[in-house]
């Protein structure tokens, strides 16, 4: 089995979905609801919603979507900069003594940035 093989990737996904389905079925509150499991006083609901079946699965999924979307699409749009942001000094002179613009010329004092592939 190779991870580069799309067939095995598909198999991994199928296994993952199967596991998720199993976890949904094994939910303790669900099993209590259908009387397979006795009520466990150590895991009584403290905040109402955490006593609902599938709360943890749903909560984990929804909050993670919210965190990714919130950070990438909202905060990221405001705060992300090129990773060379701090390499250049905004106060460094932009023109030489004769008024010619320095921008665009390679800066000898700083190493060339390696391009990522």
């Amino acid at each position: 089995m190779s991870l580069a093989d799309p067939q095995s990737i598909k198999r991994l996904w199928r296994g993952f979905y199967l596991l998720l389905a199993l976890l949904i079925l094994l939910d303790p509150k669900l099993l209590e609801l259908v009387h397979v499991l006795e009520h466990d006083p150590h895991h009584a609901a403290n905040f109402v919603v955490d006593g609902l079946p599938e709360f943890y699965a749903l909560y984990g999924f929804v909050t993670c979507i919210a965190m990714v979307v919130g950070s990438k699409l909202i905060l990221g749009k405001i705060l992300m900069r090129a990773d060379t942001y701090y390499d250049y000094d905004p106060l460094a002179p932009t023109r030489d003594s004769k008024g010619r613009p320095l921008r665009g010329k390679p800066d000898a004092s700083k190493p060339e940035r390696k391009e990522a592939h």
Partner: protein, 609 residues
């Protein structure tokens, strides 16, 4: 045999010897001294207080004694120094090792400190050691990052010192409070000092606020914590491993000792937990991702200290213990990748699963442990914190309004639990999957990948030992539970494994995993960094000075010249060329002179008041 001296001394002497020893001898010493310290911590008697021969300026110093959470913190600090030295064995950086021993030794000194002055001295020594660790990576980036790092910590230290001085002046005592358990583990702990209630957690005095601020700067709490992701990733591969362990966890220890039950910490901790995740999701540098996940994890501990029940304090201590191990493991794994490939950005990495299998598996075990997957150390420790948060009626303050009892907390106390559970899911997202995925997988390994990129033996051994510990503490947590600050007779201290708990945790994590892979397109790495609060002093302040404040001062020049004549007088006085009026840097000499004059005049005023 009883050890009747501060165990920290062994490491501090060790740091000196490592710095001056001839040849390669220092490598062996860097293993021997942490091991000796470990033994000394174990043999340190329960009841004694190590004091200097006489009073020090009238203060009754206690150089070492066992406070409630001393033992677990000191043990893990010594263990960490040992594993870190093993990991650094092949990387001939003598200065870094000496500094790391100083750093770890003073962290242990803080945990054994029996009074506020001793605590502060070791606290500041830690800043010195850690700064040298950052600097010893060499290179311009490390030099600058270390400079910013030490500036922040010196300011933090000054704030803490001011708070401690005020506190000592008001109460006349340098004693640390003693913590006792309530009736049950789930009740708030009681803090008292010499028979009086300890009031620092109520934040009623400026001293309490200053002390808290000084500690929170070190704990990495936003908006004061951006030094952490700024400096840690610039250290060497082994330096980052050392750095990850001590500063923030020492802060957690000091918060436990001084501020258990301080409500503000609950919300500070929640903020840290979420903030760490949000930034880790956005970051590209693998060690910056892990640095932000330190903030996230320390958030859980800070929140637990704020909750302040016996269970929560036990949880914070146990979590700190487990966290140091798996975080060091993750950073060792990242450090090995950096050491072997020279690459640190997720955009450059990936497809390494065939080339570095041991590093990958150790990284995955660390990643599972940080996500508190059942059978790992995160599950048996962090669960205590979420469990403690789930019973707010035991810890949240209430007050009477119009005959009705309402919560007196800043936010509804249930918020803490919901944030912590969401953050637990988020940990799996940003560290549990994101780190191994983008570093080792992400793209297919080359066909017939014959690269052998697993690091040298000592680095592998350090990783394997810590990976084994992550599993061992997850399967058999009793030895750790036995050294936690609060013990109850009869039955195990905490039972993490129950059907509902295991299934719920798996549901939480695996559905977070589902969210990760469904949103993989959105999570694609970009060549970016994300601005943090350090932007204020790295960019905003210099630009504001050059373009706003300096021009304003210069515009006001004629006013000063004409009416007051001060600049001219000053220029004549200190030999400045009058024809070229400009604001020049003063230099240290003049600054010291002015400060001395100001302080001397304070002294004079005080005498004749």
């Amino acid at each position: 045999m009883a050890v009747e001296f501060p165990p920290a001394l062994i490491m501090l002497v060790g740091a000196l010897l490592i710095a001056v020893s001839p040849g390669k001898l220092y490598k062996g010493m860097s293993l021997v001294f942490p091991a000796l310290t470990l033994v000394a911590i174990w043999l340190f008697p329960e009841t004694i207080q190590v004091k200097p021969a006489s009073l020090w300026f009238g203060y009754d110093l206690v150089l070492a004694k066992l406070n409630g959470p001393t033992r677990p913190f000191a043990i893990i600090f010594a263990l960490m120094a040992l594993a870190g030295a093993l990991f650094a064995w092949n990387q001939d950086r003598r200065v870094e090792l000496a500094a790391a021993m100083l750093y770890a030794g003073s962290a242990i000194g803080v945990t054994f400190a029996g009074d506020l002055i001793t605590l502060f001295v070791f606290w500041e020594l830690m800043a010195v050691g850690s700064t040298i660790v950052v600097w010893s990576a060499g290179g311009e980036a490390a030099r600058k990052a270390g400079q910013r790092y030490v500036n922040v910590h010196l300011v933090g230290g000054a704030i803490l010192m001011a708070g401690l001085a005020l506190h000592v002046q008001q109460t006349g005592s340098i004693a640390l409070p003693t913590m006792t358990m309530g009736l049950d583990l789930t009740d708030p702990v009681r803090m008292s000092v010499q028979g009086q209630a300890w009031t620092l957690p109520l934040l009623e005095s400026p001293a309490a606020w200053l002390i808290l601020l000084g500690i929170l700067i070190n704990a990495g709490t936003p908006p004061f914590g951006s030094w952490l992701p700024d400096a840690y990733p610039e250290a060497s591969p082994s330096g980052t491993v050392f750095l990850s362990a001590f500063t923030t966890k020492t802060s957690v220890y000091v918060l436990i000792v001084l501020f258990a039950g301080c409500e503000l910490l609950i919300w500070a901790g929640c903020l840290m937990a979420i903030y760490g995740i949000v930034y880790a999701i956005l970051e590209n540098d693998m060690r910056r991702i892990l640095a932000y996940s330190i903030v996230n994890q320390v958030g859980f501990m800070v929140c637990a200290v704020g909750i302040g029940t016996g269970l929560a304090i036990n949880g914070a201590t146990a979590h700190a213990f487990a966290h140091i191990i798996y975080k060091a493991l993750l950073l060792m794994s990242a450090g090995s990748v950096l050491y072997m490939t020279g690459k640190r950005k997720c955009t450059d990495l990936g497809g390494l699963y065939k080339a570095m299998p041991i590093t990958m598996w150790c990284g995955i075990i660390g990643a599972l442990a940080i996500s508190s997957m059942p059978l790992t150390s995160g599950f048996t420790t962090k669960s205590m914190i979420t469990d403690a948060a789930s019973i707010p009626e035991n810890w949240a303050m209430v007050r009477e309004v119009g005959g009705q009892t309402v919560w007196a907390t800043l936010f509804h106390p249930s918020l803490a639990w919901f944030v912590l559970v969401a953050a637990s899911a988020g940990v799996f997202l940003h560290a549990g999957i994101k780190f191994p995925w983008f570093v080792f997988f992400q793209k297919a390994a080359p066909e017939n990948d014959a690269r052998k990129l697993d690091p040298p033996g000592n680095m592998k051994l350090a990783m394997l030992v810590f990976a084994a510990l992550c599993i061992a503490l997850g399967v058999f947590p009793k030895p750790l539970y036995d050294i936690l600050p609060f013990q109850v007779g009869g039955g195990p201290l905490y039972e993490a494994y129950s059907y509902a708990h295991v299934i719920n945790q798996l549901q939480l994590l695996l559905f977070a995993g589902l969210a990760f892979f469904l949103l993989l397109g959105l999570l694609k790495r970009t060549l970016t960094i994300t601005l943090d609060f350090d932007w204020l002093y790295r960019r905003f302040a210099p630009v504001a000075w050059t373009w706003i404040f300096r021009p304003l001062l210069r515009a006001a020049e004629p006013f000063h010249e004409g009416i007051l004549g001060i600049p001219a007088i000053a220029a004549r006085k200190w030999g400045h060329d009058e024809s070229k009026v400009d604001y020049q840097p003063w230099g240290v000499g003049t600054t010291v002179l002015v400060l001395t004059i100001v302080l001397a005049s304070f002294l004079a005023i005080h005498f004749y008041k």
